[in-house]
Amino acid sequence: MRGKKGQVTLFIFIALLIVGALVVYQFFPEFLPAQLQTDVRPTKYLQECISPHVEEITAAVYTQGGYIDPTHSLTYRDTEIQYLCYTDANFEPCLVMQPLLRQHVENELEDYLTPIAQTCVRDLEAEYESRGFTVQSSLGDMEAEYVPGTLELNFDSTMTITGEGTQQFDRFGVSIPSEMYNLLLTATNIIQFESVYGDSETLAYMQFYPDLKVEKIKRDEDTVYILTNVLTDESFTFATRSLVWPAGYGANEL
C-alpha cells in the first residue's frame, strides 16, 4: 500500500516537472539551455518566410500571362496581360510567342524567389547565431516545378547548425497545392489552336474538363482568355491577337 502511494507521488512529481518545463519553454525560453531553444525548425522557418512572397508573385504572374513584367501586352481592367500568340497582320493566324509556357512560368518564379530565399536563409542563420549556435551555410538557387496538383519549390542551400550537436540540411522544399499545371497546359493548347486556326472553341474544353471554366473576352482586335479551376478558384489569364478581321474593308489600315 505504502509502495503504491509512493509510486503515485512520484508520478505526480514527474508530471509537475513536465508541466513546469513546458511553461518555462513556452514563456521564458531564454532560461533554457541552448539545445532546448531550437524551436526554430529550418524547413518550417523557410516555408513561412517564403510563402507570402510566393502568394504575391504567383498572383501577379497568373494574371499577367505568366510574366512578372510583361514584354508585349495589352491593358485589360488595369492589368497588363502578355500576348502569348500574336500577329501584327490582319487575316492571318498568330505566331506562338511562348511555346514553353510552363517552363517560362517556373523560370519567372525562380528568378523572383531565389534572392528572397537567400535572404530568408541569411535571416535564419542570424536567428540561430543569436541563440548561440554556430551556423555555416551556402546559398544556392530556387527551383520551381509544376506537377499535377502541386507547385514544388526547392531551394538548394546547405546549412550546418552546430550547438551541442550538429545538424546538416542540404535542401529546403515547399510544396504548395496548385492546379496551375493543368491550367498552363490548357493555355498552351488554346495557343496551339489560335496559331493554327486563328480561334479556339472554349466550350469543348469545358465539356472535356468538368473542373475548368474558360472565359474568352473579345475586344477590338484582341482576345483575353481567363482559365479558372472551378474547384480551387485558381485562374490564369493571357492574351492573343489572331485572325483579325478589321472593321469594314480594312481600307483605313492600308
Partner: protein, 507 residues
Amino acid sequence: MKKLGLLFGLTILLLTFASAQTSTVCCEQTTSGALCQNVPASECAPGAQQVPTACSSTSFCQPGVCFDSTEGICMSNTPQLVCNDNGGIWSATDVPQCELGCCILGNQAAFVSLVRCKKLSAQLGIETNYNSNIDSELSCLEVVQAQDRGACVYDFEFETNCKFTTRADCDTLQVPGAEGGVVTSFTKDVLCSAEELGTVCGPSSKTTCVDGRDEVYFVDTCGNPANVYDASRRDDQSYWTNVIQPSNACGANSGNGNAGSANCGNCDYLKGSICRGEDVAGATPTYGDFVCADLNCGVTSDGSSRLHGESWCVYNDAGGQSEGQNTVGSRFYRHICANGEEIVEQCGDMREEVCLEGEINGFSQAACRVNRWQDCTQQYEQDDCENTDQRDCYWLEGELLNLPEDLEPEFGRTGSCIPTVPPGLNFWSGEETSAVCSLGDAQCVVQFEAGLLDGEKECVENCHCLEQQWEDERAAICASLGDCGPGQNFVGVEGTDGGFKKIIERL
C-alpha cells in the same frame, strides 16, 4: 471614283495589301515588344535584327514546329528564334516526335506523342504503355474500354490484400503501394470486398469520385472503389460482391442525373451532373462526402433553363438582327451554360462575326462565325447573291446601288445585293465609311409637265420618288450597307443629323 473601285474590288484590295507589304521588313522585335513581325522599318526596336523580306523567308524568324522535349508537346507556327530562345527544339517541318499514338494510362487513355505518354505515365507512377499503330483517338479510347477490370488479389506483408484494377496492371502488379506483393489471382468484374475472395477488404460508408468517371462510388476498407453509391444498399453484401454497371444501378433513368440526391450517386455528365465534394456541390449525402453536383443552369438571363454544355445566341442590342436593322455598335453574343454558370462570350466586334445557332433534340449549340458580307455588293444575280455557301447577303429586287463605273456590269442590273448583317465601320476615321455609304446614294429624275391652259405642273415620270416610301426605302438600303444613313446606336439613341441629305434641284 477610282478610289471607290479600289475599295470594292476585293482582288485589287488584296493586291494593294501585298504591295503595301513590300515596304515592310521582318523585324526580330518591334517597338511594342512583339517578336518576328512584318512591320514598317520604323516600328522595329533599336538594335533588333531586321531584313527587308517577309519573316517566312528569313532563317531566324521562319515559322515552324517547336518541340518541348520535357512535356512532349509540339507547337506549330512558332518562329525559330522564339522557340530556340525558350529552350525548345525547332524544325521547319513536322518532326517524328510529334506523331501521335495511343497512350494507355491504367483505365484511361490519351492520344498523344510518345514523349508525352512517358511524362503522363511517370506522373501516375505507372509503366509506359504506348501503341503508335493506333491512329485515331476513338480507337484509342476503345482499347481502354475493352480492358478487363476486376479484383487483383495479392499477398503482401502476411496479409491477403486486394486492388481493383485492370488485368494488365494486375499481371505486372503495377499497383501503387503494393510493389513487392505476390499476385495470387485476378477475378474479372468482382469487387475486392467480395467475401469469396477472403481479402482484408470489406464494405464501408465512405465514398469517392473516380478519375474519368461521372459517378460517386462506394470505397471499401482498403480504399478501392466499389459500386455506385446507393445509400439503401450500403449494408447489402451482394452489392459489395460483383461489379454493377451504372446503367443497372440506382437512379439510372433519372432525368437530371440524380443531381443533389442524398441517397444515389449515379451521376450522368450528359444529363448535367458529376461527382463533386459536398462543399462544392451544395448538397449533403446520407453517407460519405460526395454527391452528384448539378451542372445545369436553372434560370438564365433570358429566363430559360439550359443544360450543361448548351450554348445559344443572344442579340439584345437595340434594332433588329438582320436586313439592315443592326444598330451602330451592336454585336452578337454567344451564351454558354457550364458548371451551373452562364458564361457570356462576345462574337467579333463591328459585326465581323455573327452568331449561328442549331438544335438537336432540344440541345442548343451556337457558334460565332465570320460575317461574309465583303463581296455582296459585287453580286448582280439573285442566285449568286443568295448563295449561302459563299456569302451572307440578300437580294433587293428593283433597287439599284450607286456603283462606281468600273464595277458596273455590262448586262445591266435588276436589283441589288446587300449584306444580311451590315458591317460596322470606322466612321470616326479614314475615308472608307463615306466611300461605302455613298453606294447608297440615289438620283431620281422626276419629270413634270405643265398644262397648256392652267400652267399646272403634273408629275409624269418617276413620281414614286416624291413619296415618303421611296425615301424610307433608300434610307433602309443605305443602313444595310454598314453604319450608314439614319439610325440609332446599340442602346437605342437616335443619330443627331438625320443620317442623309435630300437635295432637290431643277434641271
